[in-house]
């Protein structure tokens, strides 16, 4: 009898695991928001949930691995934080994003108020797929005045951009001040976006016309070599002299002379006592003095709505509130980035010279923004992965500098071909 009971319970448990299929939802709609808490705070989630009992939000931490797994299983989160708007074409080509164009046109809060220069990366082939939560001129320079003083160097101009050659020379001199100091550090995979700007400024592209191969033009190869030399010559961190932390934290620890992180970094620096006297700003460098200026926002961190969402209207309501209402206002006032809506931009902080300068530089550089030259056949992480391999081989003296570029190109060309196959082109 006991055994029969146990057997019955096991069968019942198994059936309950398999009991599934679409169940009709009664009551409030629940939307999943995949975002770090810093970009979609729990306070906002609570505020929305209290005010909107019929649309309840559940935030989960941003996890690319989980997103891929969920998407393959057909259960993607509804609203997703996209780390870089540069990847909008990648996701749009794979049908993963909800087209928001009609929603934008019908929205009183968004229509006519979108800053298209700064938010442009979220528009692809005339369709809007999302908006930045805020955007930044990520190649603007923040520098440490004390290190400049110790090196006996004049501070850079806050209005006239230096060239990348001048930036390189300056960084080398700053790094020579002390063994514990490096001249500059390119953050993570942002070498890709800086390379993109450099290519634009000399009238070149990073890929061939149909984006299936990397551009083997010698001037484009020189751009990639610039980043390799920074590490090889110890101007940036390398395997012998690694960073403790990342570029931003190391800069605030006084270990780096100059970083290119952009407007938002000013808000991070505000946590350092005496920041307004210690740090200052310079515009993003150019390739030629007086030449074409190009900047980028890496497409900006923002939000999209998944094409797999079962509640697009409700998801857009949340999206609209996030961009234009209380969260949008709060973000603008903290100065962590330039709002995508023009009406919110006057709220940016200008309480001291540091903040005034960074805002002035940002608003000027918005005029020169171009979308990053990344291919829709691959994600940013693929560039970073292939670059890291090639760079390490070069730093370990396994290949020459040209060998490293060839290695990077080989990996990228293979990946681009696979990406083209992935889309079914």
């Amino acid at each position: 009898m006991k055994k029969l009971l146990v057997l019955f319970l096991l069968i019942a448990l198994t059936m309950s695991v398999w009991a599934g299929g679409d169940q009709e939802e009664a009551g409030p709609v629940s939307l999943r928001v995949m975002s770090p808490a810093s970009d979609f705070t729990d306070a906002w989630v609570e505020a929305w949930n209290s005010a909107n009992p019929n649309i309840q939000l559940v935030r989960e931490d941003q996890d690319q691995t989980k997103w891929i797994a969920d998407y393959i299983a057909g259960s993607s989160p509804d609203i997703i934080n996209l780390g870089s708007g540069a990847e909008i074409p990648y996701f749009a080509k794979r049908g993963m994003l909800l087209d928001l164009t009609d929603y934008f046109e019908a929205s009183d809060k968004l229509n006519g108020d979108i800053d298209e220069e700064g938010s442009g990366a979220y528009k692809f082939e005339d369709s809007w797929y999302g908006l930045p939560k805020d955007y930044n001129n990520v190649t603007a320079i923040t520098y440490n005045k004390d290190i400049f003083d110790r090196a006996g160097l004049a501070y850079p101009s806050a209005t006239e951009p230096m060239t990348y050659d001048e930036f390189y020379t300056l960084s080398a001199k700053l790094g020579a001040v002390d063994d514990s100091i490096i001249g500059t550090e390119v953050h993570g995979s942002w070498f890709l976006f800086i390379a993109s700007d450099m290519a634009y400024m000399i009238g070149k592209t990073l890929h061939n016309a149909d984006q299936t191969m990397m551009n083997n033009d010698p001037k484009v190869r020189d751009i990639w070599k610039y980043f390799l030399r920074l590490r090889k010559e110890g101007i940036s961190s390398n395997l012998e002299n690694p960073l403790s932390g990342w570029a931003g934290s190391a800069f605030q620890a006084g270990s780096i002379g100059m970083v290119q992180l952009g407007y938002w970094y000013g808000a991070s620096c505000a946590g350092v006592e005496g920041y307004e006297d210690m740090y200052a700003w310079a515009p993003a460098p150019v390739m030629e003095k007086g030449g074409l200026r190009v900047t980028n926002s890496l497409g900006a961190t923002g939000f999209i709505i998944s094409s797999q969402t079962k509640h697009p209207d409700q998801a857009f309501k949340v999206f609209e509130w996030y961009m234009a209402d209380e969260p949008g206002v709060e973000r603008a006032e903290t100065g962590w980035g330039i709002p995508p809506l023009k009406s919110l931009q006057p709220l940016l902080p200008v309480d001291n010279e540091f903040n005034k300068t960074r805002k002035a530089i940002a608003m000027e550089e918005v005029k020169y923004m171009k979308p990053p030259q990344t291919s829709w056949y691959v994600r940013n992480s693929v560039y970073a992965g292939n670059w890291t391999e090639a760079q390490r081989a070069y730093l370990n003296d396994e290949v020459t500098i040209d060998g490293a570029i060839d290695m990077f190109y080989k990996g990228m060309n293979e990946a681009l071909a696979l990406g083209k196959e992935e889309i079914g082109e």
Partner: protein, 312 residues
């Protein structure tokens, strides 16, 4: 074999039924949450599927052929095997040494047993972060200690230039589990054997060779195989002990250096950072076969060297 009567057969059948009923839940869980996904992974490895493929087609064993020609895959397997063997050697030798030391009747025996085991209780991710700070070139405890002792003039980039060593230290840190296995093994050895050996004039080394080692051999064999399998599955440590800058939760975005880019990390990188789902699964299936072959060879070899009271 003794024939069972009618009652005996019925009891046997009942016992077998109970057995299968009790393990049924585990089997169902294993099937649903492990076996089916593993088989699905094999099915995907026979296609050209990427992470977000719009069109998928069967390509047979093409991914396997590509993986078997990929020098990066071979290197990852080689470096993983190297790590697995070295880590196994640390776990077994150090674990045995600590167990022998702890087994002595002394004051504080329980205290030391707990202290040596405690680091093992710390989750591997936390261990990785602790070691990352310990080995940091600029602010790490190890470099500060060596600099203050005058043993080095400049900080050493442990993670950048001695990556395998830094990861192997996690093996030192987590040797408590191995020690516990051997303590259990030592407790099975009849004490009167040692007494008899002492009376016969056998010294410590002779007693260890003739009594301790044979009785511990099944435990050593077990630990050799298990440590090897775990060593082949190391994943998160290479990412955390990566010499490049890590910001926030982006731990697995940047691949570790070649020396410590072990095969599971390589598979993960292929699938989630490069979107090469099918190819990544093929690499992982090849890894599974390699681990299986090595484990079977290992088991066969250690079995020969294992003492068993049943056989003797």
């Amino acid at each position: 074999m003794k024939r069972l009567g009618k009652t005996g057969n019925r009891i046997e059948r009942e016992k077998r039924k109970s057995f299968y009923i009790f393990i049924a839940l585990w089997i169902i869980g294993f099937a649903v949450f492990q076996l089916i996904p593993i088989l699905w992974g094999f099915k995907v490895s026979l296609t050209n599927q990427m992470a977000f493929s719009v069109k998928v087609k069967n390509v047979g064993f093409k991914n396997y052929q590509l993986a078997l020609k990929d020098p990066a895959v071979y290197y990852a397997i080689y470096t993983t095997l190297l790590y697995a063997f070295l880590n196994t050697a640390i776990q077994v030798s150090l674990g045995l040494l600590l167990a022998l030391l702890i087994d002595q009747k002394m004051k504080g025996q329980s205290f030391f047993r707990v202290m040596f085991y405690l680091p093992y209780v710390i989750p591997i991710v936390a261990t990785g972060w602790i070691l990352r700070v310990f080995f940091d070139k600029n602010v790490g405890t190890l470099n500060l200690l060596l600099l203050n002792l005058g043993m080095i003039k400049d900080g050493i980039s442990w993670m950048g230039e001695h990556g395998m060593f830094t990861i192997l230290t996690a093996g030192f840190w987590r040797v408590g589990w191995s020690m516990l296995i051997f303590i259990g093994g030592l407790s099975t050895i009849p004490r009167d054997l040692y007494d008899a050996a002492s009376v016969d004039g056998a010294g410590y080394l002779r007693r260890f060779k003739v009594i301790t080692l044979p009785f511990l051999s099944p435990f050593i064999a077990f630990q050799l195989v298990v440590s090897f399998i775990y060593g082949m599955q190391v994943f998160i440590l290479p990412y955390i002990l990566n010499p490049t800058a890590i910001r926030g939760a982006q731990v697995t975005l940047e691949a570790p250096p070649k020396e410590t880019f072990f095969i599971l990390s390589k598979g993960y990188d292929l699938i989630f950072n490069r979107g090469r789902l099918a190819y990544g699964f093929a690499v992982l299936w090849i890894t599974f076969v390699i681990v299986l072959i090595f484990s079977l060879i290992y088991t066969y070899l250690v079995k020969k060297a294992t003492y068993s009271e049943m056989e003797n």
